[in-house]
């Protein structure tokens, strides 16, 4: 089951570039939340602050608090623990090229020393089914490399890999940006199905996509969260002029 995310006074920097400024928002559990905004406004940075990937960059700095459920991500836990509870799908698919499809999906569990064959088999199959990839790969599970799949299949493989560790939150940074419409539709279906069990945060440049999959939408601009509300409200009756300009394409 998913948990909610509570972000308060979040600030992030890349060296002296103040990338995120005073972000406050509450992402509800078991819903999909979309983040939109022009390129470079800080969406990826925001998402990476949630699972503490931001700090893996040596020039990065972050202040403020992020809570998932009742845990303060930056105080109560190690980054490793946090990332075990938060799955992440990156903008560009990054399957492990030296591993088979099966091993790719199993990697998160194997990492943590999980060895039970029977359960692994089950989890791998279930995750691949959830990611709408199973039918396409079921005959080559152990034969083919994760990198031998098409871009869209690779992305669904990465989603399966993230789901296999049964995360409470799933972060997706433009998961469909490199995909064709069919794969994109599959991934949207998937988000639709998954959101009853997981808290999903999805960054997207595609506003129809945000409207289709997300209950709530946040609009970022120049490192600030301009508006955060129900998707319906954002797209039909935005409270801020800048949001309206952005979604109607009359920007600047």
């Amino acid at each position: 089951m998913g948990v909610g995310i509570e972000v308060s006074n979040l600030n992030a920097w890349y060296s002296t570039n103040h990338t995120l400024q005073d972000i406050n928002l509450h992402i509800p559990a078991n819903q999909a939340t979309a983040l939109i905004g022009p390129s470079g406004c800080g969406k990826s940075t925001f998402v990476r602050c949630i699972n503490r990937m931001h700090e893996t960059n040596p020039i990065a700095k972050v202040t403020g608090t992020v809570r998932i459920g009742d845990i303060d991500v930056y105080k109560d836990a190690s980054p490793v623990e946090i990332r075990r509870r938060i799955g992440m799908v990156f903008q560009r698919p990054n399957p492990f090229p030296t591993m088979s499809i099966y091993d790719n999906v199993a990697s998160g569990l194997r990492l943590n020393g999980f060895r039970n064959r029977r359960v692994l088999d089950e989890v791998v199959e279930r995750s691949l089914i959830q990611a709408a990839l199973f039918e396409e790969v079921k005959n080559d599970l152990k034969k083919k490399s994760g990198a031998s799949l098409s871009g869209g299949q690779q992305q669904r493989l990465c989603i399966a890999r993230a789901l296999a560790v049964d995360p409470e939150v799933l972060l997706m940074d433009e998961p469909a940006s490199a995909l064709d419409p069919v794969s994109t539709a599959k991934i949207e279906d998937l988000i639709f199905q998954l959101k009853s069990q997981y808290t999903i945060v999805i960054v997207t440049h595609n506003m129809q996509q945000a409207a289709r999959v997300a209950e709530r939408t946040g609009f970022f601009l120049n490192g600030r969260l301009v508006e955060f509300d129900s998707t319906h409200k954002i797209f039909t009756n935005p409270g801020d002029k800048r949001t309206e300009d952005y979604i109607t394409g009359r920007f600047g």
């Binding site: 022009p38 390129s39 470079g40 699972n51 990937m53 893996t56 040596p58 980054p79 490793v80 623990e81 946090i82 990332r83 075990r84 509870r85 938060i86 799955g87 992440m88 990156f90 560009r92 990054n94 399957p95 492990f96 090229p97 030296t98 591993m99 088979s100 499809i101 990697s107 998160g108 990492l111 943590n112 152990k142 034969k143 083919k144 490399s145 994760g146 990198a147 031998s148 990465c158 890999r161 993230a162 560790v165 440049h205 595609n206 506003m207 129809q208 409207a211 797209f235 952005y246 979604i247 109607t248 394409g249 920007f251 600047g252």
Partner: protein, 341 residues
């Protein structure tokens, strides 16, 4: 909620590709004037092929020359030359086994010590080293590679051997003497000393090549593993070493090649007596060392032929060891899916 993505920046100038004028431009004319370049392309292929073939030619020439110059002993002893322990120039009775043994033992000892250390150094340099330390540290490791081997030999005699004799060997004898691998008399010099000095000599090659292949692993692979909740070591194991393993084995093979052929430093510390035994503190002799030591005093043809055949043995051992290493890589990566990039 309309279609095309919105742009923050002003629309860029239409690129020159989009605005083709009816008359061909200067650039187009210049490019057309270069023709199909088919000949130069083909010539390039042939030249490269020639470069590759020169390797075969060199190897073949060396092998032929070695076999020709060691005809005397080859016809006298046949294959038994490689499996005999005799080394008696006076009675013209020769066998290569103790030298093969000394070379292999000291080289594998060297690998055993150097590989973990080198990979550790590479991991530290690529994954955890503060930026300001990285330059100086990698410079220092590469400096180690530039020191002439005779200097290593001297250092081994004056520093390493005393340390081994007075501090390390007594401990080894006490703790592990029961295994039979470490028993007296404790000379300081011997197989272990040769292995240690070789390890120091091949460390820079292995660690700098390993560092190169590890650096080449894309950052997204590290992020992928980290995001699954991996600790730093798990990230390095699954995200970096696994992707770099073929390159790492390659660097180990290069290091092994250097260890097998190393002459000067080994000659100075291995003890130069053709013995075979499992005692690593005992004396030994290596193929390269015996050639270096005895070639100038080999007075008769038979003696000289025997030394050249030792060279042939070294050549063969190198080939066999490389083949085995490749077999090992094949065996390890056999289960894994073919890598696509």
């Amino acid at each position: 909620m309309s279609g095309p993505p919105l742009e923050l920046t002003p629309t860029p100038e239409p690129s020159s590709l989009g605005t083709e004028s009816p008359a061909p431009s200067e650039i187009r004319k210049f490019l057309t004037s270069r023709g199909s370049s088919a000949i130069s392309d083909r010539a390039f292929r042939w030249i490269m092929l020639l470069c590759a073939l020169s390797i075969f030619a060199i190897v073949a020439l060396i092998a032929v020359e070695l076999v020709k110059s060691s005809q005397l002993t080859i016809s006298k002893f046949g294959l038994s030359f490689f499996f005999k322990s005799a080394w008696d120039p006076v009675n013209a009775n020769f066998g290569a086994l103790p030298f093969i043994f000394g070379t292999l033992t000291s080289s594998f000892l060297a690998l055993l010590l150097a590989v973990p250390l080198a990979i550790g150094v590479a991991i530290f340099l690529t994954e955890m080293c503060p930026k300001i330390l990285r330059g100086p540290l990698s410079f220092l490791t590469e400096l180690l590679a530039a020191i002439p081997s005779v200097v290593y030999g001297f250092w081994a005699i004056f520093v390493l051997v005393p340390i081994l004799r007075e501090r390390v060997n007594p401990l080894l004898i006490k703790a592990l003497g029961w295994t039979g691998f470490f028993s007296g008399p404790n000379f300081g010099i011997g197989l272990l000393a040769a292995g240690v000095i070789l390890a120091i000599m091949i460390l820079p090659i292995i660690s700098s090549l390993t560092r190169e292949v590890m650096t080449a692993v894309p950052h997204t692979q590290r992020e992928a593993v980290l995001a699954l909740g991996a600790t730093r070591w798990e990230m390095i194991r699954m995200g970096v070493l696994r992707n770099a393993r073929i390159g790492i084995v390659g660097s180990v093979i290069l290091g092994l090649g250097r260890a097998l052929g190393e002459t000067m430093a080994v000659t100075m510390v291995i003890g130069n007596s053709p013995v075979i035994g499992k005692n690593l503190l005992g004396l030994g002799y290596s193929m390269a060392s015996v050639i270096a030591n005895e070639f100038s005093e080999a007075s008769d043809d038979m003696y000289r032929s025997a030394l050249i055949e030792i060279g042939l043995a070294l050549f063969l051992v190198t080939i066999v060891v490389n083949g085995l290493a490749r077999l090992l890589v094949w065996a390890v990566t056999r289960g894994a899916p073919p890598r696509v990039t």
